[in-house]
Amino acid sequence: MTDAQILILMSTLSTGLILGAIFALVAAGVTIVYGCVWLPNASNGQFFLLASLAAWTFTASFGWTSLAAAAGVLILGTALSYLLEWILIRRLYDTPNRNVAYFVVTLGLTQIMTGIFSLTYAKWSDQFTLPPVIEGITMFGPFPMPNNRLVVMAVSLLVLVLLFVLLRYHPYGRALRAVFQNREAAALRGVNVRAIYRLSFVLGSVIIFLGGILFALAYSYDLTVAWTMSITAFAIMIIGGPGSVIGALVVGMTFGFTQAIVSIFASPTAATFSYLGAMLIILLFRPSGLFKR
């Protein structure tokens, strides 16, 4: 292979891995909340953006390092998720057809957050960037990979693995899966269903916040990223199977690599709708998603 061919191959691999891992992470957050609480969070894109913008505020206005900003956003995000659950989400736990009610409520949240961002951040800048966590590049043959993006990729994959282990082997994970499958039966076996709902909402939301921080570390972004990420996360959740973290991982990675490969052999424009086309085809044959629970 020539250097040019290796360069293109390596760039495809790195793009697929980074985009795929971030897509998978955000979709995992969405799918945990939907699978457990039956809450289709229409505001997941705004949560994602909130984390990115808050990290930008901490670095640009307070002079924090990106690492400190990430920690600050995660702490704030956890507190905010608990607060939201306490004020709003728990009031609908026992509502019949609560998925529709939740969708409407989170749609309202989306509008409110969009309005706030429009009155604040949209006036301050048309684009946002975080300083890298770590400087320098690592050479993979002729391909120079920024160390900062390596960190983003490693953290995304590590969190996905930890999430999988948590849900598979930890008592909380087992309780959560029990609630996924049958709320009443889980309650009869002594599972505190409302506590599991609360934990699931907070965990799912914090993962989306983390996705926002990692995206902001890897890419420059503007306010339109909320919509793109929201659609992508929902698509991954539907194809992977609502409630399935392994589904989110597999489909997220597939989306990332599809984008990278189609953009070489066709065009970047074809890449953006190629995975949505794939979604429709898969749903024709597997209406409940690839990894039905």
Binding site: A4, L7, I8, M10, S11, T12, S14, T15, I18, L19, T57, A60, S61, F62, G115, S118, L119, T120, A122, K123, W124, S125, D126, Q127, F128, T129, I137, F143, P144, M145, P146, F215, Y219, S220, Y221, D222, L223, T224, V225, W227, T228, Q259, A260, S263, I264, S267, P268, T269, T272
Partner: protein
């Protein structure tokens, strides 16, 4: 955060002040009302609010100096929410209820096109401060006048710049699929063979793209002398960084246009790269008034102004000259004729302001080299090239429909 909050507060205060005040010198007299329909919310908020900040400086200056024909100039600033239908509704309201003498304000081409239709139909003079889509001054246009050169012409100017610095250069294009970028690239593609330039890669990204690593590698493999980068919003920065990551040198990168926040976004690692502009703190030709405007704007907003703010600063002065030439502030047709016959210079940089039969301006462009970037506060640039051209030196209205 304090700085950002102050910026926000001052932007809101400026908009409110522009809505409500008639400064002291010309108070008492009936104000000359002009509808300023701009983007105060929605995706183009930053451009609209920046524009209003520039507008307010000039309006205050004019009114403190006695106004226009002894009357205060009042811009009725209205939010179009970056939506065409909202812009149209606001234009109609300003026309019918406020009986404005003229319209102005949009910084988005899509929004400006909606207002264009209304202005032409209602024979209402319409001065577009910042919108570059060529069809805003298509043949037969009578009441619309555009201050910013059309985007296809920017492509022409870039080709002329590269032709001068490296004859026969190999050039790669990377741009977003947005009306502005498509127009710029259409102009460049038209002019490139005429300037003996060779386009070795031409990649368009859909809106909402977030990664360009693979395409950056493709471009690197094509070994161009220059890469023209024009991404929508933050994606411009993504493409730039990924090209630099892969070993493209800053000196090889040309941005068709650059405003202050973009230069901050490109950052210190882009020192040596080139961007096109129509006004910049680093111009060689700044007038004393231009230097004063930059200093005062910087002090109020914690960043130097770019061409967006400058065009909106220039707008009230253009109205002033045209109204004075018309001799009345109550006749739209006379104002239209005065705008059409205007032959003046930008107060800030001295470049000519002359409109052709379609309302397109005698066009021009500067190319600046980034010398240093100081965080999000300041930057320095050096003027490398200046060009003027007739709006129809290339067939802009056929290239971009």
């Amino acid at each position: 955060m304090n700085i950002k909050l102050k910026t926000c507060a001052s932007a809101i205060a400026l908009a409110a002040a522009a809505l409500c005040t008639a400064p002291a010198a010309a108070q008492g007299a009936r104000p000359i009302k002009i509808g300023f329909v701009t983007e105060l919310t929605g995706p183009w908020t930053f451009f609209g609010t920046s524009c209003v900040a520039g507008l307010k400086f000039a309006t205050d200056e004019i009114n403190k100096a006695g106004g226009v024909l002894g009357r205060p100039l009042e811009f009725i600033v209205t939010d179009n929410q970056t939506k065409s239908d909202q812009a149209l509704a606001a234009s109609r309201n300003l026309d019918i209820n406020d009986k404005v003498l003229a319209l102005s304000g949009p910084t988005s081409s899509d929004v400006a096109l909606a207002m264009y239709g209304y202005a032409e139909q209602q024979k209402l003079p319409f001065l577009v401060p910042v919108a570059a889509f060529p069809q805003l001054t298509k043949p037969g246009t009578r009441y619309t006048f555009r201050i910013e050169p059309d985007a296809a012409g920017w492509g022409y100017a870039m080709a002329k710049y590269i032709e001068q610095v490296k004859p026969g250069a190999k050039v790669a294009l990377m741009h977003s699929d947005a009306a502005l970028m498509r127009a710029i690239m259409a102009g460049f593609r038209y002019q490139a063979p005429r300037s003996k330039l060779n386009i070795v890669a031409d990649i368009m990204f859909p809106q909402g793209s977030s990664d360009a690593t693979v395409q950056a590698a493709q471009v690197r493999a094509a070994a161009p002398d220059y890469v023209i980068v024009s991404g929508a919003g933050a994606f411009d920065n993504v493409i730039t960084n990924q090209l630099l990551d892969l070993g493209i040198k800053p000196q090889q990168i040309i941005h068709p246009y650059g405003i202050t926040t973009q230069v901050f976004g490109w950052g210190q690692r882009s020192v040596g790269s080139i961007y096109g502009t129509f006004f910049d703190a680093g111009l060689d030709t700044l007038t004393p008034a231009g230097k004063d405007f930059i200093a005062r704007f910087d002090a109020a907003n914690n960043r130097p102004p770019s061409y967006v703010e400058n065009y909106c600063y220039v707008t009230p002065y253009i109205f002033k000259e045209a109204i004075e030439a018309a001799g009345t502030a109550d006749d739209r047709e006379k104002l239209r004729n005065a705008l059409s016959a205007l032959n003046t210079k930008e107060k800030t940089s001295g470049v000519p302001i002359v409109f052709d039969k379609n309302g397109a301006r005698k066009e021009y462009m500067y190319f600046q080299e980034i010398v240093s970037v100081n965080g999000k506060r300041n930057y320095q640039s050096k003027q490398r090239f200046y060009i003027e051209w007739d709006p129809e030196v290339i067939p802009v209205y056929d290239l971009v429909k």
